[in-house]
């Protein structure tokens, strides 16, 4: 790792101030950032830890909306959402491994937007709102491609608001080495319609499979997806699976998610 200064502010305001410095970077649980730093792939002058800010660790459940602070760990989400939003809790309880879940945070995951991460599928599939120190961003606006988001310099995720659906489920097919999602499909049924978000598969990062949403709006059953498919052309093809295989898995996982929802 390159040398950097470490600060651990106690308030969002202090964190924002610290991040104003050029090349300062926010540190969530560090489960992605620290391995990146070890490889010297990033060179921040200062790391601003967000894990000491009580406000970012709050979890609220109001009027069918689950609000999770940006620095809440995956393990804490798994526990806190178990009753209110079981599909989200289940997703959180299968990110990485137990030790990773004790450090990794929802804000860190969404800010990083790894194309194979689980939380982007949950946020997009739930039509969540990303709350920052500056504004509120809808999930549809937030994700901008691989590792790209709507976040601006110095902007930090303070909370994520999940509208709780009537039913939902997340199915993840593991990449056997990293255990990230080779393909993950989040299906959520709301009064306003069904949302289907896919992670791991596309060269553009997490995306909504609108054709499936329409089919499931008409009939929320696995069979409804028969005859529908995603185009292999935009899928990731690599050591762990061809484009065609990933496109195929999107459908298989989507059907399983509908069946399990």
């Amino acid at each position: 790792m390159y040398e950097f200064e470490f600060v651990k502010p106690a308030t969002v305001a202090e964190a924002v101030a610290a991040l104003a410095e050029e090349d300062a970077q926010a540190l969530g649980g560090g489960q992605t950032l620290i391995p990146t730093l070890k490889q010297r792939l990033a060179m921040p002058s200062k790391l601003v830890s967000l894990t000491g800010i009580p406000q970012l660790k709050e979890i609220g459940d109001n009027d069918g909306v689950l609000t999770i602070g940006g620095a809440v760990t995956h393990a804490a989400v798994a526990e806190a959402a178990a009753d209110s939003y079981p599909a989200l809790a289940d997703l959180a309880s299968h990110i990485g491994d137990p030790a990773v879940r004790n450090r990794g945070t929802i804000g860190g995951s969404l800010a990083n937007n790894d194309p194979a991460a689980c939380y982007p599928a949950a946020a997009l599939g739930s039509g969540a709102t990303i709350v920052t120190n500056r504004r509120e961003i809808t999930a549809d606006e937030y994700f901008r491609g691989l590792f790209e988001t709507a976040l601006e310099e110095g902007e930090i995720i303070t909370a994520v608001r999940f509208p709780v659906p009537e039913k939902a489920n997340y199915q993840k097919f593991l990449q056997p080495a990293s255990r990230f999602a080779l393909v993950g499909v989040f299906v959520a049924k709301y009064a306003a319609g069904v949302r289907v978000a896919v992670t791991g598969a596309s060269e553009e990062g997490v995306f909504r499979w609108r054709e499936a949403e329409a089919a499931l709006d008409a009939s929320f059953a696995p069979d409804a997806l028969d005859g529908h498919s995603v185009d292999a052309a935009g899928m990731i093809g690599d050591l762990h699976g061809t484009r065609e295989y990933r496109a195929h898995l999107v459908k298989v996982m989507a059907k399983r998610a509908v069946a399990a929802a």
Binding site: M1, F4, F6, K8, P98, A99, R103
Partner: protein, 161 residues
């Protein structure tokens, strides 16, 4: 350099570290607690697992300064007060749950975290929980068996030791 202080295995510990100093380095290099091992750089092998405030974490993926004021438990503090092996350690020895010993500290710390939350895990629950702990020697058979035995379950019907 900055000063960091924490409690490690019940004793106060402090030292001068850089911002980039990992908790694993602080334990190994500063405190000379070399039972915590480092086996990868991508946070997957789990040889470095310790407990911070009662929760299993990968000490190679946490800055030492993030543990300021924390209660840290490592493999060196796991034995009983009289120095004898604790229940999990003893089960690992009884059931040949280790060979080269390199992954073992992380395995024992993960097992301890699992049994705290889930005192009688099924075979599948043990296997799932060990997702972040790699072992290259045992084929996991005797590790899973040892953890189930440590939870007080009868493992005599499981094939050969």
């Amino acid at each position: 350099m900055a000063k960091v202080s924490m409690t490690v295995n019940g004793k106060a510990a402090s030292g001068e570290v850089e911002g980039r100093t990992l908790l694993s380095s602080f334990l190994r290099d500063t405190l000379r607690l070399t039972g915590t091992h480092v086996g990868c750089d991508t946070s997957q092998c789990g040889a470095c697992v310790v407990h911070v405030d009662g929760k299993a974490v990968k000490s190679c993926t946490m800055l030492a300064l993030e543990a300021e004021g924390a209660e840290v438990a490592t493999i060196e503090g796991q034995a009983n007060a009289d120095g004898s092996l604790n229940v999990i350690q003893q089960a690992f020895q009884d059931h040949h749950g280790l060979q080269c010993g390199f992954c073992t500290p992380g395995m024992v710390m993960s097992a301890a975290a699992l049994l705290k939350d889930n005192p009688k895990p099924s075979e599948q629950e043990v296997r799932d929980y060990l997702e972040g702990n790699l072992c290259r020697c045992t084929g996991y058979h005797n590790i899973v068996k040892a953890i189930m035995a440590a939870s007080g379950q009868d493992v005599s019907s499981i094939a050969a030791e």
